[in-house]
């Protein structure tokens, strides 16, 4: 079953614009991670935010976490054609009976950045 649900399912923007993707989840978590997947490839880890953090930055990425609303957002600023990929949020923690290693992924947002 999918713990996280990304929104929107697909997003198409022009190069240079910002892209915002959202993720909602159902149960308590230890951490939330965002991954990118290029077509036909494996997932690449982007950023991890802990449950006691509210915002985190990494280069052109900004992630927020609102545990009261069980939601997170990923912002990619000044997007590039190379950012075209699917983006997934993944949660771990209490949803797995206490196990803290098991990641549960959403269905992903397909981002297309047009040159």
């Amino acid at each position: 079953s999918q713990q996280g649900e990304e929104d929107p399912q697909a997003l198409s923007i022009q190069e240079g614009e910002n892209a915002t993707m959202n993720c909602s989840y159902k149960t308590s978590i230890n951490n939330l991670q965002w991954y990118r997947q290029n077509s036909g490839r494996g997932l690449v880890h982007l950023i991890l935010i802990r449950s006691n953090e509210r915002e985190k930055h990494s280069g052109r990425l900004r992630v927020t976490l609102d545990t009261s609303k069980k939601s997170s957002s990923l912002l990619i600023t000044a997007s590039r054609a190379a950012d075209t990929a699917s983006y997934f949020c993944a949660t771990d923690g209490f949803n797995s009976g206490g196990s803290n290693y098991k990641l549960t992924f959403g269905k992903g947002t397909l981002l297309t950045v047009n040159p």
Partner: protein, 117 residues
């Protein structure tokens, strides 16, 4: 540097055949995970190893699925008597620490795309 390597990249099998998928994790990584990814979906957890011990196999869909990591490095996912619904991408991931270390990214291979005819 060397990442997670999976082989074969593509596998076509007839319904009823057995298949074996291989994963070479990053050297020294304690944790190893297998996921199944259907088209247009996110990865779904299958099983977890800490070194050679299979600590969680709760995601394996049926007893036709079997995974092993006998020496705590390379892992093999075996599917017996394959069925069409087994068609998916099978992803392997590894991370440095054991289950006590939750704040760690997982490093993924490019997967094996399995097609059952």
């Amino acid at each position: 540097g060397a990442g997670v390597s999976q082989s074969p990249r593509y596998k076509v099998a007839k319904r009823g055949q057995d298949v074996a998928l291989r994963c070479d994790p990053i050297s020294g990584h304690v944790s190893l995970f297998w996921y199944q990814q259907a088209l247009g979906q996110g990865p779904e957890f299958l099983t977890y190893f800490q070194n050679e011990a299979q600590l969680d196999k709760s995601g394996l869909p049926s007893d036709r699925f079997f995974a092993e990591r006998p020496e705590g490095s390379v892992s093999t996912l075996k599917i017996q008597r394959t069925q069409q619904e087994d068609s998916a991408v099978y992803l392997c991931a590894s991370s440095l620490g054991g289950q006590a270390y939750s704040n760690q990214p997982q490093h993924f291979g490019d997967g094996t795309r399995l097609s059952i005819l």
